[in-house]
């Protein structure tokens, strides 16, 4: 099982570090990271393995939101993207 973490907002130092630490705390294994910074605007998509997650996905979402209060963060199960974008 995989989940997708998206982080969007103004760029600053340590965003990726905080997200990675959060994943580590919840035992989510990072599989893939794509990120870009255009005109100071940070966008990151991270795919994580959640089979051994030690809490609900929503808990991870809350933790990341607390660590990065100025960023827009979504943690969502990968099924929703597969359903919407694959026939």
């Amino acid at each position: 099982m995989k989940a997708v973490i998206t982080v969007v907002g103004k760029d600053s130092v340590g965003i990726l570090a905080k997200v990675s630490c959060g994943c580590s705390d919840f035992n989510a294994n990072i599989l893939d990271v794509t990120q870009s910074v255009i005109d100071d605007y940070f966008t990151m998509v991270m795919v994580v393995e959640i089979s051994k997650l030690n809490a609900d996905l929503s808990e991870l979402n809350k933790k990341l939101e607390a660590d990065l209060p100025t960023m827009k963060i979504h943690v969502m199960h990968e099924d929703i993207f597969n359903a919407m974008h694959r026939i």
Binding site: L57, I80, H85
Partner: protein, 452 residues
Amino acid sequence: MLNMTDIMETVTMIQDEALDIRTITMGISLIDCADGDIDRSCDKVYDKITRYAERLVETGEKIEKKYGIPIVNKRIAVTPIALLAGASGGDPIKYAVTLDRAARAVGVDLIGGYSALVQKGFAPGDTELIQSIPRALAETDVVCSSVNVGSTKAGINMDAVRTLGHVVRECAELTKDDQCVGATKLVVFCNAPEDNPFMAGAFHGPGEPDCVINVGVSGPGVVRAALANMDDTADMGEIANEIKKTAFKITRMGQLVGTEASRMLGAPFGIIDLSLAPTPAVGDSVAHILEEIGLEQCGAAGTTAALAMLNDAVKKGGLMAANNCGGLSGAFIPVTEDAGMIDSARSGCLKIEKLEAMTAVCSVGLDMIVIPGDTPAEVISGMIADEAAIGMVNYKTTAVRVIPAIGVPEGEELEFGGLFGTGPVMKVNTASPAKMIARGGRIPSPMQALKN
């Protein structure tokens, strides 16, 4: 493999364009609760609803958290209560109070099915239930009611139409101190679907299984945003195609959520209602889609054509994404629940006559329209008859949910709050249809009914 563009598209739909699952509705059959004694019958109803729907809200919340998609409402639809009232006798209000209590016990937002199906005539329980609707809606909070007064197969029961004109008025009168809210919870249908997950018209039809999960999706904001990204020179065919693609994505999400909910609750997945259901929130309006297509304001000439195209494209896109479609499936045009419609009604661009034309090409009818408080019952009956005729002849569902604004002068507004929204009092043609309404009887079913 997932790509970044697709992922960000989904996230934007949820974050900025108000994409949501409008409702997961559990349909529960109460046929086995019928008893000759109304109190025993009510006890069985309460037990069955609270047993079957015990985990409905919790399950909805779990899915919300897993997929990060808002599920706005969790609801219950039950067997038309008139069937139980017919078996048990007694005051049907007892059932309304029981439904209200059961709905609160399991924490759902609304419960529908305080209903009667009288398209061809009245069976035991029907008249008593219909007469009790105003009191039932005034004395409960989350109970919704509907009456089916016509169908393509049966014609239109004009005795029921006459009665319902009075019932609608009384619903508003009994709740005049609370924004006439009673009338927002009553829908008068022609060709009512038996598996509709949307309120206030949801009920669990006699042909349905014991328990079923139906899902209603929504996404006017997503469709509008998709059209906003298109070139102004795109032709109507291209616009229809873009709407189809968007509807497909929205519906796939509904299919995923419905499948998951049905698995978790151990109940079969009935249908997805392929709908564009607006809310009063900014960016969640069907009227704004029509304006994005190129109308100065909803209600302008061209509105009916744009809506017909939108309604058709939503169905075509959604069909392939869903295993089973049903319910109302189409674009909704409830005036008070749609920010763009509210503006058009306020400015006078959108009139009831135009709305009536629009109902011929979209999924419901004259929905959530505030009318003057002194509108005679016969005029309301006339409006119901007209809508029922459109539904009957076109083999589609139509409905009337109008709210007489008792004691509110013209120019003022009723404010229901939440999803029900707010709306100005709209002008009604009050030339009297009283003589025709007093005739009663049944309008025979049209040629379209004879398909066998």
